[in-house]
């Protein structure tokens, strides 16, 4: 059952269309990743879903009810982890957790007990009484995450929760998130890290310029580029015009072209050796040809015309 449904969400800021008719669903026990570069509309989408912003059009349905018909009920179900740290640096990790638990409606006793549980789960017990300003970046991120979990939300919105931390701390947080999913929590996860989307998310939506360009499992998205065959040609390609090459566009789709590199996908189920032969016969000076499996980055490249890392 879909715990969250975003239906045709749109939001403009002046002339800028920050989110443009974005629709997706997140089910219990599922991680739905919104993948896109900075400024793609991921954070605005999260803001629309959690009610920080009202959409110009479209609906957010949480657990079968329209968000805006009873926002407080929807908020009780969801926990939000903002991209920026939203904790009090002067307070300790435990005090932060307890405070946000109290604001979420827990009693003093429940907040204290839950804070203890989360400090344990987030491996922060030893430092729980220290002021947050003395924590490392990774520890602060864990407290930031914990504050959203105090009231045991069934739906968790994570806005780039691992930005700016070291690989070890990131791995810890990702493991913690996997455990949450195992408990049936539905997660909307925004990121611009390909590896995170590939390894963590059950389904991925690719977003750019406010529009959801494609969505599906990793395999679904890779399929869009053909039957798992991608060729990278290196050579002098500045003057090359693939559209003018006889029969080329019927057999290959150009994914990306630069002065030194041409990335193409073979159309249909074809023999790689045959494809290589055809590519080497192209009317350009080819220095090298590589065959590779399409990655999420290639899908992104094909959809947006630019790399996610740009």
């Amino acid at each position: 059952m879909a715990l969250l449904q975003a239906d045709e969400l749109s939001k403009r800021f002046g002339d800028i269309r920050a989110v443009d008719r974005v629709s997706f669903e997140v089910s219990e026990g599922e991680i739905y990743g919104l993948l896109g570069p900075n400024g793609a509309g991921k954070t605005t989408t999260i803001s629309l879903v959690c009610g920080l912003l009202k959409p110009d059009s479209g609906n957010v349905v949480v657990s079968g009810s329209n968000f805006w018909s009873d926002p407080q009920a929807a908020r009780r179900i969801m926990g939000v982890v903002p991209q920026d740290l939203a904790i009090y640096e002067e307070l300790s990790g435990r005090e932060n957790l307890e405070f946000w638990g109290r604001i979420a409606g827990l009693s003093q006793r429940d907040a204290r007990a839950r804070a203890g549980e989360l400090l344990e789960a987030l491996s922060l017990v030893d430092r729980g009484s220290d002021a947050v300003k003395k924590y490392s970046g990774g520890m602060k991120r864990r407290v930031n995450l914990g504050c959203a979990l105090m009231h045991r939300p069934r739906l968790l919105l994570l806005d780039e929760p691992t930005v700016g931390i070291d690989p070890h701390a990131r791995a810890n947080i990702l493991d913690f998130i996997r455990n949450l999913v195992a408990d049936g929590v539905a997660i909307l996860y925004t990121t611009h890290y390909l590896e995170e989307a590939e390894t963590l998310c059950h389904r991925i939506g690719i977003i750019d310029h406010g529009r959801l360009l494609a969505e599906g499992t990793l395999a679904d998205l890779q399929q869009r580029l053909g039957e798992a065959q991608l060729f990278v040609i290196e050579g002098v390609l500045a003057a090359a015009e693939p559209d003018t090459w006889t029969g080329f566009t019927e057999r290959f789709r150009v994914i990306q072209k630069t002065d030194r590199q041409l990335t193409v996908a073979a159309l249909g189920r074809r023999d790689p050796a045959e494809c290589l032969k055809e590519l080497l016969a192209l009317p350009v000076r080819v220095e090298n040809v590589m065959l590779k499996r399409p990655s999420l980055n290639d899908t992104f490249l094909q959809l947006t015309g630019r790399e996610l890392r740009e």
């Binding site: 920080l52 912003l53 939000v80 740290l85 009090y88 002067e90 307070l91 405070f99 504050c147």
Partner: protein, 420 residues
């Protein structure tokens, strides 16, 4: 109500963990009060301006200038003046080293030129600006001396030439000539007898006996502390209310919004925090100040009510200003300036009587800072003063109105600025 309590506890905890800004707001008014009070309060015995150290360079060195020197170094003058008789170079060296407040130089031939008349004589005064008011006092004293010398010259006229001859007697005084001259000087002064003895104009000094004991006496410290407190409590309220912008900057406001519908509780919580922190500050300032400066508040209960209503006003006023500013940095600058202005115009820094007439008559009476400082000072001067009730009522009313306006405006501003 639960949320309000939780928010207040959190803010007080944060203030406790990061006390420096609050301590500064408490320490500075105490320090200023102490410094000004110690300098000018009549209660600081032996204090006041202290002894003024200056040098007298007597390049004339005549019996007449020795007479002046004797007057300056006498026992009575010695209580307030520390006069060093030095050579010019040494005196100028010492003033350059900031060891002297001023140097007064009596030029060569001073006596001769003065007694002969007709030739302008100039006494030199070198002042040291680093010694605050002391050089100005020396200058005033020198002005008095010059006036007196001119008056003597006008009165005695031609006799002065004969005095010169006697004083220039090559080390040997002609007492017979001096006697004749004294006789004649006496004759000159005879017509003025009716004016001089007894003097036509005089004054009678009276020092009131302190009947109410030292604790009940008028205290300059209490007077100053009320004004400084009124100003710095505004700074504290400002710091507390501007914390709403910090909540925005630290994204905690967004998190609050994801858990709770509306911002009213958060803003009300911050206003409660502002009132609470101003009250805590006032207790330390006025209670601690009374202990440190050894005076007693005549009507402590009335003062508490005044402080309570002033805290309400301070929270509302600074909240509204911060909300109007719209941005944290702008509020930071603007609010500080406005606090200084309303404090100055409200008579917190100077006694209101010393403000320019237009401000004193038309602006000061409209300012809540003046209502508070005026009522608190009046209570301290006259324990039976009842005007404080009206002042407290006005402060409470305006405080409540300003708080409502600030809340509405902040709500709009923060709502507009919120994004995940």
């Amino acid at each position: 109500m639960n949320h309000l309590r939780t928010l207040l506890a959190k803010d007080l905890q944060r203030a406790w963990r990061n006390p420096v800004p609050w301590l500064v707001s408490i320490a500075v008014p105490l320090l200023i009060t102490g410094l000004i009070g110690l300098a000018f309060s009549p209660q600081t015995r032996g204090g006041g301006l202290g002894r003024i150290t200056f040098a007298l360079v007597d390049e004339d060195d005549s019996p007449f200038t020795r007479l002046i020197r004797g007057g300056l170094t006498g026992q009575e003058a010695g209580k307030s003046l520390d006069v060093h008789l030095l050579a010019r170079d040494e005196a100028l060296r010492r003033i350059a080293n900031n060891e002297l407040a001023a140097v007064v130089i009596i030029p060569k031939k001073f006596t001769k030129d003065y007694l002969r008349g007709g030739k302008p004589i100039v006494l030199e005064l070198v002042k040291n600006p680093a010694q605050a008011i002391h050089p100005a006092v020396v200058e005033e004293g020198l002005g008095l001396l010059v006036t007196a010398l001119n008056a003597i010259a006008h009165t005695l006229g031609g006799d002065l030439a004969e005095w010169e001859a006697i004083l220039e007697g090559h080390g040997k005084l002609d007492f017979q000539a001096m006697s004749r001259l004294l006789q004649r000087t006496g004759d000159h002064l005879a017509p003025a007898k009716a004016y001089l003895s007894p003097p036509l104009v005089s004054y009678q000094g009276e020092t009131r006996a302190n009947t109410s004991g030292p604790a009940q006496a008028w205290s300059m410290f209490a007077f100053l502390l009320v004004g400084m407190g009124a100003m710095f409590l505004l700074f504290m309220a400002d710091n507390a209310m501007r914390d709403l912008y910090r909540e925005l900057r630290f994204h905690t406001l967004e998190r609050f919004q994801t858990l709770h519908e509306g911002l009213l509780v958060l803003i009300a919580g911050k206003a409660t925090f502002a009132v609470a922190i101003v009250l805590v500050g006032a207790v330390i300032l006025f209670g601690g100040g009374a202990l440190v400066f050894q005076f007693a508040w005549k009507r402590p209960l009335a003062l508490v009510v005044l402080v309570l209503t002033y805290a309400l006003f301070a929270a509302g006023f600074m909240g509204l200003l911060a909300a109007l500013a719209g941005k944290e940095r702008r509020a930071d600058i603007l609010n500080n300036v406005i606090i200084m202005v309303v404090s100055l115009a409200g008579g917190c820094m100077f006694p209101p009587q010393q403000l320019p007439a237009f401000m004193r008559d038309h602006v000061t009476p409209l300012l809540p800072t003046a209502w508070f400082a005026g009522a608190a000072r009046a209570l301290q001067e006259d324990g039976a003063y009842l005007g404080w009730v009206g002042a407290a009522g006005k402060l409470a009313f305006f405080g409540a109105v300003l708080l409502v306006l600030a809340t509405a405006l902040f709500r709009r501003r923060l709502h507009r600025g919120v994004r995940a």
